[in-house]
């Protein structure tokens, strides 16, 4: 039963992504990307990643959709038909996809409890974090304490991206007069 739900959800994601890629109206494509994000948030919820799930729901379906719509309002909302040959891109995509699928043949089974990812560092976090950190949410204790350096780096990346957008679009500063 749960496999059925998984497959249904993943197929819906595939269909939404395909429709978003094929759609000529950028407005429609952006809305489909929002739906795609919401579906992936559901899938994360099924896989027990509650923290990730509601971040994705707020970011993917909320903020990034709004930002894309903001961009469309400043630019154009219709995509022009390209008259380039699609053969080379399709060839590249199929070859890459084929190689990746060949790569997955060596991957551990889906939800295999003995997969290498579950045997190395994670047991330490699950068994010891209660005593060492004293915080029930393991994700929080790994995020903020065990891997505090990582998170500091991520916050710096967000800071830098924010500064970059401000430099490009400007807020509360003099705009250069006379666009060239």
């Amino acid at each position: 039963m749960s496999t059925l739900i998984d497959i249904l959800l993943l197929s819906l994601m595939g269909i939404t992504a395909l429709a978003a890629v094929r759609m000529k109206s950028l407005f429609g494509a952006v809305m489909l990307t929002g739906i795609f994000s919401l579906l992936s948030a559901l899938w994360f919820l099924i896989l027990d990643a509650v923290d990730v799930s509601f971040t994705e729901a707020a970011v993917g379906a909320g903020i990034s959709t709004v930002l894309m719509l903001g961009t469309l309002s400043l630019t154009k909302s219709e995509e022009k038909t390209s008259n380039h040959s699609q053969i080379i891109p399709l060839f590249v995509v199929f070859v890459t996809g084929g190689v990746l699928i060949y790569g997955t043949l060596d991957m551990p089974d889906f939800a295999d409890p003995l997969a290498p990812i579950h045997t190395h560092v994670a047991p330490h976090y699950i068994e010891k974090s209660g005593a060492e950190i004293g915080v029930p949410n393991i994700v929080t204790s790994v995020l903020a304490s065990y891997r505090g350096f990582d998170t500091l780096g991520e916050v710096t990346v967000i800071f830098t991206a924010g500064v970059g957008v401000l430099l490009l679009l400007g807020i509360g500063r003099r705009r250069e007069d006379g666009d060239e």
């Binding site: 929080t140 916050v155 924010g162 679009l169």
Partner: protein
């Protein structure tokens, strides 16, 4: 005020709840799902919703742009400052054990402060980005937002003035 009447009323009802939920997610993140990243995103979503429904001018009266511009680096500084504080107290960088009288309390305090910093930066960056997108082309030469009447004038002038 007659446009989108239902939208305005519902938004007014929802925004305090969204902000309350964001604070819950921020400070209860140690015990349930949540933390700085999620809380920051939710606060930003609430402000974006407000700006979408009531307009950018109203929203930037609620939260001034300079406040956002202060909050962005402040969050990073709080995070890095916790690391420096633990250095000064004799531990390693970002080692929260030394922050309080016993390690578990120190960890609690450290995580709380670090998540606060994360939440601040994330909320401020995302809100600022939205303001930057929404305000693009709607500002005068000093970077102040134009009222709507002046906006249409400026658009007309720019269209006339350009070849």
């Amino acid at each position: 005020m007659t446009h989108h009447f239902i939208l305005r009323v519902i938004t007014k009802l929802l925004i305090p709840l969204i902000l309350l939920f964001a604070l819950y997610v921020q400070f209860h993140g140690d015990f349930g799902p949540g933390g700085g990243f999620q809380a920051g995103v939710i606060i930003a979503a609430a402000l974006v919703l407000y700006a979408l429904v009531f307009g950018l001018n109203t929203a930037s009266a609620v939260i001034k742009e300079w406040v956002l511009l202060v909050l962005i680096p402040l969050g990073v500084l709080i995070y890095a400052g916790v690391g420096v504080a633990s250095l000064l107290l004799g531990g390693n960088y970002l080692d929260y054990n030394v922050l309080a009288h016993d390690p578990v309390h120190g960890q609690h305090l450290g995580i709380l402060l670090v998540e606060l910093g994360v939440g601040m930066t994330v909320a401020a960056v995302l809100t600022t980005i939205f303001f930057a997108f929404a305000g693009r082309g709607h500002r005068d030469a000093n970077g102040n937002l134009l009222p709507h009447s002046a906006l249409s004038d400026e658009i007309r002038n720019r269209k006339d003035g350009q070849p």
